[in-house]
């Protein structure tokens, strides 16, 4: 514990700005993945433990696409699109069979997929860790904004994450399709009785959720290492964010992601060896005060 350092940091403008921005960066990258998780839970009431696998596959597919096409944009799109397709397949073939069942059944089906794809990735891409490399367009020195350091690459990622957050929120509450999705989340039988094909609706929602995870993996691939099993730590972080924010709430996930990012940003200064512990404690406190998370509704 180093509260002196924390105090000094909080009272220095440059440290305050830098750690806040780096917390925001870490948080918003996390939000991209967590948004998909919370969306899937909100609508389908399925806890998708395979979400980290989508993230991992998105990264690997982006890696290979970049090698073939040498275009980062294409690589990111391919990572997202491939996971959308994979998501539909996964939902129809496996998850659709355990809707409404014990959460343990869902957990196990997802766990099986995690195990299988960790091994498949090892078969296809090898046991070695891989690095994608920074696209040339972003190989530029960082910017200094109000004493804080902001690399252009991260500025773009933050922009994309915010656009996705706004687009998701707007399309859920502002469009007809979005309203149908929200209605189906509340009462699938009723929506189905009104002539909406809920099967298709569920598959589409799952595809969007999976695509977000794939996108997250692909976007972050230039600065992270690709290894079999890399989805695990991201999955845990996404869960924490989803649970704190309230399962099913996009706004909650955004707020919680930023909160976790900020805990990391300042935790590393004040509690360098207990940053993760702080996050678990935060989660436990939130759950005790608001058992359904910050923005969650009661689900039984």
């Amino acid at each position: 514990m180093d509260l002196d350092a924390l105090g000094r940091c909080v009272s220095t403008a440059s440290c305050l700005v830098t750690q806040t921005t780096s917390g925001l960066i870490a948080g918003l990258l996390l939000f991209l993945v967590a948004a998909g998780l919370t969306l899937i839970f909100g609508v389908l009431k399925v806890v998708n433990f395979a979400h980290g696998t989508f993230y991992m596959l998105g990264g690997y597919i982006a890696f290979t696409t970049l090698q073939v096409t040498e275009s980062y944009t294409l690589a990111v799109l391919a990572g997202g699109a491939a996971m959308a397709v994979f998501g539909i397949f996964f939902e129809r073939a496996l998850i659709a069979r355990v809707y409404g069942q014990d959460v343990l059944m869902q957990l196990l089906v997802c766990y099986a997929v995690v195990l299988i794809f960790d091994d498949l990735v090892k078969m296809v891409w090898g046991a070695d860790f891989l690095a994608m490399g920074m696209p040339p367009a972003f190989q530029v020195p960082p910017l200094f904004i109000a004493g804080g350091i902001v690399p252009p690459f991260y500025a773009v990622l933050i922009g994309i994450a915010l656009v996705i957050a706004i687009a998701l929120a707007a399309s859920l509450s502002g469009t007809r399709a979005g309203k149908t999705v929200l209605a189906a989340a509340q009462n699938p039988t009723m929506v189905s009785a009104l002539g909406v094909n809920t099967d298709r609706l569920f598959a589409v929602v799952f595809a969007i959720g999976a695509a977000l995870a794939g996108l997250g993996g692909a976007l972050a691939a230039p600065v992270r290492s690709l290894t079999p099993g890399m989805g695990f730590s991201v999955l845990i972080d996404s869960f924490i964010v989803t649970v704190i924010g309230g399962m099913g709430s996009i706004a909650g996930a955004l707020l919680a992601s930023v909160g976790v990012g900020l805990i990391r940003g300042f935790g590393t200064i004040g509690f360098p060896t207990f940053t993760d512990g702080l996050i678990y404690v935060a989660m436990i406190i939130v759950l005790l005060l608001r058992p359904t998370g910050l923005f969650g509704r009661e689900v039984v």
Binding site: C15, T21, S22, F129, M134, I149, V223, M230
Partner: protein
């Protein structure tokens, strides 16, 4: 029950019987285990799945090469080697079980323990119980062999050691820091026992050589963390002149990529003993020049024809660079081969006696020789520091560590730790 049901049941029966037989093999396989006379089974527990599967695959490769060579030359004490590799998934309790199974069921007479960190300690305890010969080929934790309380009569370590790296690293960093007048340092190591212990050890020796350094900040990112952003900005904020880090493998590669985004390397020098290993050197796409780097495995260090030839043979055969773990595993087989020749038998006690104090010719040793010292740990292997360069050979200007100085400081360290 209907007829269709019955038919299904009938077809299922052989399948079930087969499955049951497969599940029950360990309980009856003892006879099979030793059936093939004239061979010796060697068990190798390791990690073949998850994020550090490379630990297992690159050691299995090395083992394959050595076994082929040894078997062609007549085997160990006249017996051909049969290798049994098992994945413990890096779980200590599973490593313990696997070793017991390898010995009790498969009839392995030697264990080449290719487990990392905690699992190696679990294996050590099993070896204490079973009394077979064991060579640890990846644990770098000094206490495994340095602490007499943990030592086991038939267990040896054929791997580099944390304390050795710390001494050589401390002396090298002090020399560079003196020349460049770098007194403000930061550290950034993974937040677990290896990271904490070895960082402390390094700093002890570093300050021994250069007492006027100041550690202005320490960061402890989590092992396997995807994101190092806040750690990187913390380090840049602190404005040290140089950074010491023990990050390795995928974490190191991710750290460098993310640090590049923040132009960290134009603000401070970086020292990392784990940098000089091909998986990292080749994976990082824009490897900054001039990172001070320890030599884990490099074809150009030690600069011996035998080493270059071994590296090239490995690369050609597996279409992949060897790792630090590969040379350590190879050396273990070379030691076993020489010990078997000396002992004339594979009896654990005789082999252990032969191994203790044994010096062999080895491509990875200083002057082409390594020794298994009396305290059951490998010495005189090549250990040095150099600077990175983006292209092959990746690390240049390598300075070899001084083993004379190393022995002296290691002895003092042991005394301080009450290990002697």
């Amino acid at each position: 029950m209907t007829k269709t049901d019955q038919r299904i049941t009938l077809r299922r029966r052989p399948l079930l019987a087969g499955a049951a037989a497969a599940l029950a093999t360990p309980f009856v396989a003892r006879a099979q285990g030793t059936a093939k006379s004239g061979t010796v089974k060697v068990g190798m527990p390791t990690i073949l799945s998850g994020a550090i599967a490379l630990l297992g695959t690159s050691q299995r490769n090395a083992a394959e090469m050595e076994i082929e060579r040894i078997n062609a030359a007549g085997g160990l004490a006249g017996r051909k080697i049969e290798l049994v590799v098992r994945d413990s998934k890096g779980q200590p309790q599973e490593a313990a079980r696997v070793v017991r199974e390898l010995v009790n069921t498969d009839g392995c007479e030697i264990i080449m323990d290719a487990e990392a960190s905690s699992a190696a300690f679990a294996v050590q305890e099993v070896i204490r119980d079973l009394g077979v010969l064991c060579i640890h080929t990846s644990s770098e934790t000094s206490s495994l062999t340095a602490d007499p309380k943990l030592r086991v009569a038939t267990a040896f370590r054929c791997a580099r050691q944390g304390v050795h790296d710390s001494i050589v690293g401390g002396s090298y960093a002090a020399k560079v820091a003196d020349a460049k007048k770098w007194t403000k340092w930061a550290t950034c190591s993974p937040d677990y026992a290896y990271g904490h212990d070895t960082t402390t050890q390094f700093l002890d020796f570093f300050k021994h050589f250069k007492p006027d350094v100041e550690i202005i900040t320490q960061a402890w990112p989590k092992l396997g963390a995807p994101d190092f952003t806040e750690v990187i900005t913390k380090l840049i904020q602190a404005k040290p002149q140089a950074l010491f880090s023990l990050l390795y493998a995928g974490d190191l590669s991710a750290f460098i990529n993310q640090a590049n985004v923040y132009a960290l390397f134009s603000n401070m020098a970086m020292f990392d003993p784990n940098m000089g290993d091909y998986p990292v050197l080749t994976a990082v796409k824009s490897l900054p020049a001039g990172i001070y780097s320890g030599t884990r495995y490099l074809e150009n260090f030690p600069d011996l024809p035998a080493n270059a030839a071994w590296g090239e043979a490995y690369r050609k055969r597996f279409n992949q660079f060897p790792t630090n773990w590969s040379w350590q595993n190879s050396t273990a087989w070379m030691l076993a081969e020489a010990a078997a020749k000396k002992a004339g038998s594979l009896d654990a006690k005789k082999m252990s006696e032969a191994l203790t104090g044994l010096t062999i010719d080895c491509p990875f040793g200083v002057g082409g020789k390594v020794t298994m010292r009396d305290d059951h740990t490998l010495v005189n292997y090549a250990v040095g520091w150099g600077r990175t360069t983006p292209k092959m050979p990746y690390v240049i200007d390598i300075e070899a560590g001084d083993w004379k100085q190393l022995y002296e400081l290691e002895a003092a360290w042991k005394k301080q730790m009450n290990y002697t």
